[in-house]
Amino acid sequence: MTDSSDARFRIGVDIGGTFTDGTLVDSISGQVTTSKVLSTPADPASGFISAVEKLLDLDASVSPDDIEHVVHATTVATNAIIEGKTAKTAFVTTEGFRDMLEIARQIRPSLYDLQFEKPAPLVPRQLCFEVPERLDAKGEVVTALDETALAKVVERIVESEVEAVAVCLLHSYRNPDHEQRIGKAIAARLPNVIISLSSDVVPEFREYLRASTTVINSAVAPIVSTYLASITEKLHAANITSELLVMQSSGGVYPAAAASDNPVFMVESGPAAGAVAAASLGTALGQPNVISFDMGGTTAKASLIRNGQPSITKDYSVGGAAQAGTGAFGGASGYPIRTPVVDLVEIGAGGGSIAWVDTGGALRVGPHSAGADPGPVCYGLGGKEPTITDANLVLGRLDPAYFAGGEMSLDLEVAREAIRVNCAEPLGLSTEEAAHGIVEIANTAMVNALRLVSVQRGHDPRDFMLVAFGGAGPAHAVRLAEQAGIPRVLIPLGPGTASALGLLVTDVRMEGSATLIVRSDEIDVSLISSEFARLEKAGRDAHRIAASASGEPEFERAVEMRYWGQSFELSVPSPVGSVIDQAWLDELTESFHGAHETAYGFRATDEPVELVNLRLTTVGKISRPQMRKLDNVDSDATVALKGNRPVYFAESSGGKGIIQSPVFDRSKLPAGAILNGPAIIEEPDCTTVIHPKWNVTVDDFGNLGIEQNR
């Protein structure tokens, strides 16, 4: 496949709320072509195929046969959950535990709200069934599976005409036998219904989290498989028969067939792409430690990449409150999943976030957003409340005549008026001061997000580079870096579509895990080795179906560990070397003590350490496309100078406020060009703001490298 010199083009398609972005990359020359079409929420597949067709129209030299593979990021699974449009699903569990999904964690999502609601279970109570059977915590049978009772439950499931079934029995992570027998009994009567067993999907302890993950898997499976089938069909109709891959929440891709069986791994498909793009760019530029920052119209997302790998979490809720500070407590809102998800902190700060003054006289930004409709006041589409975009416009950071590359003009006067009336007058400030305050307050929340993914996880921001993209990211990035103590910023080429590129620079990844729960001083190391071997075999089998991956699979091993008695595990990479022996275990244990000290400030060397889960990721390598160098090289940036305009920079001008600043056209900046802040760099889909005391060097590939003056 990959060695065929003809099939050298790869296509990435990322469906967002407003636009569907397509990216076509020539993997040899690095030439990138992008397309943007309106998303079609009623039938996302048609927006998908329009984006693909537009790419092929833009580059007439590419024929459908030249496509090596197509990678897709989609929110179809998340949307089904958030909109309550999941498939009709049955849930089967151990007798006595039918209400596991109803009871959930028994807590309220907000402490002081007497009118709160618990999220409605994805399976209504009449479709939750019990089977007499029981295992103990060691996986031994306490009560045998009652086949007669099971047969009756199967008949009731048949009568209820469900599209999917989820099975989660107590302690099945230790012993899958009962679940497998139940699965077979249902499959015998309902061969076309999707059945998810918790021991297959996430064989890890804590029943509610495992059940929730399994239920989500089955409840979105019919929707995801239908959707992927329809995309495949449309690609075939366009004569594209190459492999379709899907982005997972973890940042790896997997074949469409695997996605149809295990869709819970792709619920956060879209946001992962941005982190992957930042990781890939950092690695290519010799900066494997980066913080990815993606700011769009309604939210901003931050994630941390170390050694070229995005940080991964398994503490995540779909449709929950995703905001700074709730990471450890986000339990009661949304539906938890225990699959690997790129560890993002997402906050409600985007270009459309609304600024207001509260009853105590404080200036606030968000959480309400004007969204795309009516949008910021300056769009002139009926928005009345000032937003971050309005504030940036008033400060001179955006050009009213060059928004969306001049396709849309912004109304500065109405933006000024809205900020004056809503914020400046109530606070006794000038309009510029208020606009500046709006931006600074939004920045504070975003700096918190950057701190949460770095300092809070034990990483010093000074060791990282900030990679900023999304429509609004580059306007804020330099100031955020200044406040968060990050010395370098990188703005990639085409920041507005940068995350779609992330689809084309990752590998096939298949996750496998096994629960151990054994103390390090009591474990038989041969058990670790045999469990890893078992996971490796399953990984090889899964790897075979991914046509785009080349060569032998690679394996990443990690062990989730904690002090015996704790409840939160830290993931510790397996020491290098293939032999698993006592020395390996000692090294692993020492790594754990170190990781614990980094995260929580202490190590308890005398305490027993517990090995909770083994994780093995099978990686099928996909070759990276080359990056294309700019044709023009010159250290002088004046060729790109468009003019000058006054820009408000109170934070760094010694109180002067407005500074006359040069404005550059990014498309004309040559490689090697150097320029100093204050400056504005414009391109059709976004504006980069360079603050005083920062300087820019354009690299060979056209990325803006921004550093603080020494």
């Binding site: 007497l114 609601e117 915590a137 107590l170």
Partner: protein, 573 residues
């Protein structure tokens, strides 16, 4: 209403940074803790206090700590003497008669220094699973506080960054679950250090003068917003009275009374009329009662309102000394939460006529502890386990009370069955909703839940709960939720137990909790028949109960409401 002479931007930035510091303390504590009660059930809180011991920013997982923790910290520091606390020192305290609540809640408090100047205090409170005393998990019916566990007055526990090993061993010697408790103490130290580091970073950036000035401003800002919220409350005097089923030694009910006066000065809660304290576990310290009132007021205000000294200024509590709402030494206190949480229900009941859309009908409103321990045959260690069980929430003016959820001051998670069974010699054999336990209403109460514990080994089990004589009250013709049941099942024979008792279990014995449902809101015969149909189809309410309590005839074959039969049932109702 403007902020004169302060930079509104710097204000918001510092305010967020202070909140963030408290939240990072909470994350550090939870993730590195050992006991299920802290790490999973989140029974802890963290806060930053300024150098004058005013509460500034807080990260609370449990509203019960809202008023108690902020009272305890200043009292403990003043008792010890702020001048006796240097950099790297931390004091430990759990004294109920020194501003605390019950002995399990142990606070660790450390001064924060910036360039050798005292700038404030970080403090965290954790509910420790065991503090010694008469029964595992330190809950039970006792006569005096001395029987409830180790009493720790403010003592220096960490001296110049080093844990005092002698004291540490002394404290641990009183405690059954030594390993977990030691781990939780280490997590508390980590939490305070995290907070101190963040506070130092804020001062590094803005300077100490600005830091102090903006803390004042943050408190004044909260004062202004609280005043604006109080202005929206109805003016007048509102009262209610109610009962706790028994005190744990006698079957005599415990009377509680509350009178609420709302005027421009704030809100005054007066518990005069409540019973004298008992030589039994139901006594609430002043801090606990204060906390109940602070929570109730906070729940009636804008959800976005910050809580600090500027808020507490508006909470005025008068609780007669020597009563169950303000007990004096040496009354036992471990069940004081029953009084605390019942006061919440009473406060909302009192305000119901004036604020019918803001409140809810009677909730579970009991702490509902389950605690047990014994020797773990796998490890040979003495183990202790503690959890609290959810119940039904009360109906609201436009929505049903949610099923099986923690209420009011309590928001602790359940312990996963698989985690519990992996760590302790117990098997949970049933965990489910209790059908027909709701209080009928136009908007019904939530269902209670059932949890059965089977013990393969001998164990000591304590129930510390309530509600087995009368279920939570309904409002506006809504009816009471079901009563709770606490049962011992031996050889398939069920014996009902008192709501406050300790029992010795033999291998194979089962303890079964069935918690109360929430009270209904509005007349049940006005309930939308389609909503009744959904409840019946889901098996939450029986067909018979639908007919008798709601006047709705459900046709099970058709899965529909029988309209004509329903009309007939509802005639004259």
């Amino acid at each position: 209403m403007t902020i004169a002479a302060v930079d509104p931007i710097k204000f918001e930035v510092i305010r967020n940074a202070l909140t963030q510091a408290a939240e990072e303390m909470a994350i550090a504590l939870r993730r590195s803790a050992y006991s299920t009660n802290v790490k999973t059930r989140q029974d802890f809180s963290c806060a930053f206090f300024d150098k004058d011991l005013r509460s500034v920013s807080q990260a609370f997982t449990q509203p019960v700590h809202l008023g108690s923790f902020v009272r305890h910290v200043p009292i403990a520091v003043n008792r010890y003497g702020p001048e006796n606390l240097g950099p790297g020192d931390m004091i430990l305290s759990n004294d109920p008669y020194g501003g605390g609540v019950h002995l399990n809640d142990i606070s660790l408090i450390g001064p924060v220094y910036w360039q050798a100047q005292l700038v404030g205090y970080t403090a965290c409170l954790a509910h420790h699973v065991d503090v010694g005393g008469g029964a595992p998990a330190s809950i039970g019916a006792f006569r005096e506080v001395f029987q409830e566990g180790i009493i720790i007055p403010p003592i220096k526990f960490v001296i110049e960054d080093e844990l005092d090993d002698d004291l540490f061993r002394l404290v641990l010697s009183q405690i059954r679950s030594k390993r977990e408790t030691a781990g939780d103490f280490r997590a508390q130290i980590a939490s305070n250090r995290t907070g101190a580091l963040r506070i130092n970073e804020i001062i590094d950036r803005y300077g100490l003068d600005e830091f102090d000035r903006y803390i004042n401003e943050i408190i004044e800002y909260t004062d202004r917003r609280t005043r604006a919220e109080v202005a929206k409350l109805p003016r007048g005097v509102f009262s209610a009275k109610g009962f706790i089923d028994n005190d744990g030694f006698t079957d005599e009910v415990v009377k509680l009374e509350v009178k609420i006066t709302i005027d421009d000065e704030g809100v005054r809660f007066d518990t005069t009329g409540s019973d004298p304290q008992r030589r039994a576990p139901v006594n609430s310290t002043f801090a606990q009662t204060y906390s109940a009132c602070a929570y109730a007021l906070r729940a009636l205000m804008d959800r976005d309102l910050p809580v600090n000294d500027g808020f507490y200024r508006y909470v005025h509590v008068e609780a007669p000394e020597g009563s169950v709402t303000n007990c004096v030494h040496p009354a036992p206190v471990v069940g004081g939460w029953e009084t605390h949480v019942r006061l919440n229900d009473l406060i909302f009941e009192a305000l119901a006529p004036a604020m019918p859309d803001a409140i809810c009908a009677g909730t579970k409103a009991m702490q509902c502890h389950s605690g047990f321990g014994g020797e773990n045959p796998e490890t040979g260690e003495y183990y202790c386990f503690l959890e609290t069980l959810a119940g039904g929430y009360g109906g609201r003016s436009a929505s049903d009370g949610p099923d099986a959820v923690q209420t009011h001051g309590q928001n602790t998670e359940n312990a996963p069955v698989e985690e519990t069974e992996s760590n302790y010699p117990v098997r949970i054999t049933r965990y489910e909703l209790v059908p027909d336990s709701e209080g009928p209403g136009e908007f019904r109460g939530g269902l209670g839940l059932r949890r059965d514990y089977m013990f393969p080994e001998e164990a000591t089990f304590t129930i510390l709960a309530d509600r087995d004589k009368a279920g939570p009250r309904g409002l506006f013709d809504g009816e009471r939720g079901s009563k709770s049941v606490y049962a011992l099942i031996k050889n398939n024979e069920e014996e009902h137990l008192s709501s406050k008792t300790t029992v010795q279990l033999q291998p194979g014995d089962v303890i079964s909790y069935r918690t109360s449902g929430g009270g209904g809101y509005g007349p049940p015969f006005k309930r939308d028949p389609e909503a009744v149909l959904t409840d019946v189809l889901q098996g939450k309410i029986s067909q018979k109960r639908a007919r008798e309590r709601y006047g709705v005839e459900i046709d099970l074959d058709d899965q529909s409401v029988n309209d004509s039969a329903t009309q007939e049932l509802r005639i004259g109702k």
